[in-house]
C-alpha cells in the first residue's frame, strides 16, 4: 500500500477560495457572485483583489443563477457561491433552463455539501445534489477530495468552456494531494494499485478510502484505490480497467446511495462488465444534527465501513 501523509488539515472550501483568486489573476473575465455567504464560501480574498468583479446578490439564489447566465453573454466566466443545497435543489429549474439548456459558461460553486456540514442539520445537508446535477445534459460534476485538489479544480474549471457543478465541503480534512498537481477534468487519479478489490471514492471519502486500504492490507487484502474527482464525465476506462483486474468494486461517497457516484459506476458495469458492487453512501435518508465525525460514523461513511463493504464484496466474487 502506497503511503500517503499530510502535514496539515484544511477545508476544501478554502481550496476553492484560493483557486478562485488564482483563476481571477489568470483571466480578467472571471467574476464571482454570492448569495450572502461570502465568509462561508471563502470569497473574501477574491473580493479584496477584484472588488469590481464581485456581485453580492443577497439571499436570492434564483436571481443569482439568472444573473450568472446573463453575465456569460459578454464573455464573463461567473462562479456562483452558496451552500450546495441552495446551489442545486432550490434553483434546479433556473439551472436547467438558463444555464444547462442554454449551455452557459457558469461555474456553480457549492460549499457545505453532504453530512459534514454538521450541526445545522438536514435542511442544509444536501445528499441529492450530485444526482440532480449529473442528470442535466452537458453539466460537468466535480467533487474534489482536499484543499489542494479543490484549488486545482477551481483553476481548471475556469479554463473549461461550459457549465460545471463544483462541490466541496465545510470541515477541515487531511490535505494530502500534491500542491503542484494539474487537474484534468474527467481523468481519474490512481492512488494505489491492488488486485483484490477496487475502491472508487469521491470527495471526503477519498481519504477514508486510503485509510481503509491500509486496514485491508493488514488483513491481507490488496485494494486498488481510485480518486474519482469528476463524476460526470466519468472516467469509464479507468474504472473498467481496474475492475477487470480486481473483479469487484466498492464505491464511496458523501451522498445518497440513489443518484450518486455509485449509481454511475453501477450503470457502467451493468452495461459493460457486470461485477459485484457495494455502496458506501447514505441509505436513502436525510441527515441530522451532529458533529461531522459523529454523522459520518452513524451513517456509515468512513474507513471502517469501506473495509466492511470491501470484505463483503470480495466474498460475493464468483
Amino acid at each position: 500500500m502506497k503511503k500517503y501523509t499530510f502535514t496539515e488539515s484544511k477545508d476544501t472550501r478554502s481550496g476553492f477560495g484560493a483557486g478562485l483568486v488564482e483563476a481571477g489573476k489568470q483571466n480578467e473575465n472571471v467574476v464571482a457572485l454570492c448569495a450572502d455567504l461570502i465568509g462561508s464560501l471563502k470569497m473574501d480574498a477574491f473580493i479584496k483583489e477584484f472588488p469590481e468583479r464581485f456581485f453580492q446578490i443577497g439571499i436570492a439564489e434564483a436571481n443569482m443563477m439568472g444573473i450568472a447566465a446573463g453575465l456569460t453573454i459578454g464573455g464573463k466566466i461567473p462562479f456562483t457561491g452558496t451552500f450546495a443545497e441552495f446551489s442545486t435543489a432550490r434553483v434546479y429549474d433556473q439551472i436547467r433552463q438558463s444555464i444547462a439548456y442554454s449551455h452557459k459558461n457558469v461555474k456553480i460553486a457549492a460549499s457545505h455539501a453532504g453530512l459534514t456540514l454538521g450541526e445545522d442539520g438536514a435542511t442544509h445537508q444536501t445528499l441529492e445534489d450530485i444526482g440532480l446535477m449529473k442528470m442535466l445534459p452537458g453539466m460537468v460534476v466535480i467533487n474534489p477530495c482536499d484543499f489542494n485538489q479543490t484549488k486545482a479544480a477551481t483553476i481548471a474549471v475556469a479554463k473549461y468552456e461550459g457549465p460545471v457543478y463544483l462541490r466541496f465541503g465545510r470541515p477541515v480534512v487531511p490535505n494530502f494531494t500534491p500542491a503542484d498537481q494539474t487537474f484534468e477534468i474527467g481523468k481519474a487519479v490512481m492512488l494505489n494499485e491492488g488486485t483484490d478489490v477496487t475502491i472508487v471514492a469521491t470527495g471526503h471519502l477519498v481519504w477514508e478510502a486510503i485509510q481503509a486500504g491500509e486496514e485491508l492490507e493488514k488483513l491481507g487484502i490488496s485494494a486498488e484505490i481510485i480518486n474519482i474527482h469528476t463524476i460526470k464525465p466519468l472516467d469509464e476506462a479507468a474504472i473498467l480497467a481496474s475492475v477487470k483486474k480486481t473483479g469487484c468494486v466498492v464505491t464511496a461517497e458523501e451522498h445518497n446511495r440513489l443518484g450518486g457516484l455509485g449509481d454511475s459506476v453501477a450503470q457502467l458495469l451493468a452495461t459493460q462488465l457486470p461485477t459485484p458492487q457495494e455502496y458506501v453512501a447514505v441509505d436513502d435518508s436525510f441527515g441530522e444534527s451532529g458533529t461531522p465525525a459523529q454523522l459520518m460514523e452513524k451513517y456509515g461513511l468512513n474507513a471502517a465501513s469501506i473495509v466492511a463493504k470491501a470484505q463483503k464484496v470480495i466474498s460475493r466474487k464468483k
Partner: protein, 282 residues
C-alpha cells in the same frame, strides 16, 4: 432622426400575418400575446435597437433583447426573420420536428438572435440584468432590453431581480411588461391580481413609464424613445406596455381564450383578411 411610422406599421402587419400562419401551420402555439406584442417587437428591432443580424452571442457593441415570456415565440421568430437574422422561409418549420424554431426560444439549436432559453417563466429579468452588468464591466455603452408577461410577474424570482437592479444601479436596462391583463386561466385580476403595478415597481426603485396605447406604433416608438432617454441616470427603467391580447385579429381580441390556441382554416382565412400582406409571406 425621422421615423417612418407607416413603414413600421406595415412590418408589424406582416409579422401578425406570420404569427397566425405559423400557429396555424403546426396547430399549436400562442397567438394571443404574440399579436399583442407585435408593435413593440417591430419598434425595437426596426427602430430603437442597435443590433447586428449577423449575430454573435456576446453581442458586444450592440443592444441586446431578452424574451422572458418565451411562449410568445411566434412574434420573436417572425421579427428576427424579418430583421434578417435567418431566412423568412424557416418560419414554416415552427414547432415541427428538427426545427430551430422550438416551441419556446432556445440557444440549443443555434438559432441566430436567441441568447438564452425561456419558457419556464420568471427568469428573463435576471439574465438581462446579468448581461447589462457584463456590458458595464466591458465598458460597452449599449442597452439591454427584456420583455416579461404580466401574469409572469406572479413568479417570485421577478421580484428578487426587481430588488437587485435598483440597488446595483443597473441603469443600462429597459424592462417592459406586456400589460394585457390576461393569462391562461382568465384575467390577472381573477387569477392573482397584480395590484398597483406602477406603485410596486416604483417602490422597488425603478423609473416607471407607461405606454397606454401599446398597439399604436407611434405611441410605442415614443415610449421606447422616452425610456432610452431615461437610461444611465442611476435607475433601471421599466415600461408598462398596455396591450390587447390578440391585437389585429378581431375575434382573438378581448378574451384570454386565444392565449394558447391555434386557428382552424376558416379562422386563419378570416384573420388574414384583416391583415394585408405587406412584405411577402414566407
Amino acid at each position: 432622426m425621422s421615423v417612418d411610422i407607416n413603414k413600421l406599421e406595415q412590418t408589424a402587419t406582416q409579422v401578425r400575418r406570420d404569427i397566425v400562419r405559423m400557429v396555424h401551420g403546426c396547430q399549436s402555439g400562442h397567438p394571443g400575446g404574440s399579436l399583442g406584442c407585435a408593435d413593440y417587437f417591430v419598434a425595437l428591432y426596426f427602430h430603437a435597437m442597435k443590433n447586428d443580424p449577423s449575430f454573435n452571442m456576446d453581442g458586444i457593441g450592440e443592444d441586446l433583447f431578452f424574451l422572458s415570456n418565451g411562449h410568445i415565440s411566434p412574434v420573436f421568430y417572425s421579427t428576427l426573420a424579418r430583421a434578417g437574422y435567418f431566412p423568412v422561409s424557416e418560419l414554416a418549420t415552427f414547432r415541427k420536428l428538427n426545427t430551430r424554431l422550438q416551441g419556446h426560444p432556445t440557444t440549443h439549436e443555434g438559432l441566430p438572435g436567441i441568447r438564452i432559453a425561456s419558457g419556464s417563466l420568471g427568469q428573463g429579468l435576471s439574465a438581462a440584468i446579468g448581461a447589462a452588468q457584463a456590458k458595464k464591466l466591458n465598458k460597452d455603452n449599449n442597452l439591454v432590453y427584456v420583455l416579461m408577461g404580466d401574469g409572469e410577474l406572479q413568479e417570485g424570482q421577478v421580484w428578487e431581480a426587481a430588488m437587485y437592479a435598483p440597488h446595483n444601479k443597473v441603469d443600462n436596462l429597459i424592462a417592459a411588461v406586456d400589460y394585457n391583463g390576461a393569462q391562461i386561466d382568465g384575467s390577472t385580476d381573477n387569477v392573482l391580481s397584480l395590484g398597483n403595478l406602477r406603485a410596486k415597481w416604483e417602490a422597488f426603485g425603478w423609473d416607471v413609464l407607461e405606454v397606454e396605447k401599446g398597439n399604436d406604433m407611434a405611441a410605442v416608438v415614443a415610449g421606447i424613445d422616452e425610456a432610452k432617454s431615461r437610461t444611465r441616470k442611476g435607475k433601471p427603467v421599466i415600461i408598462l406596455l398596455h396591450t390587447a391580447m390578440g391585437s389585429g385579429v378581431d375575434f382573438m381580441m378581448g378574451t384570454h381564450k386565444w392565449h394558447g390556441v391555434a386557428p382552424n382554416d376558416e379562422q386563419l382565412a378570416s384573420a388574414l383578411n384583416q391583415l394585408p400582406e405587406t412584405l411577402g409571406d414566407y
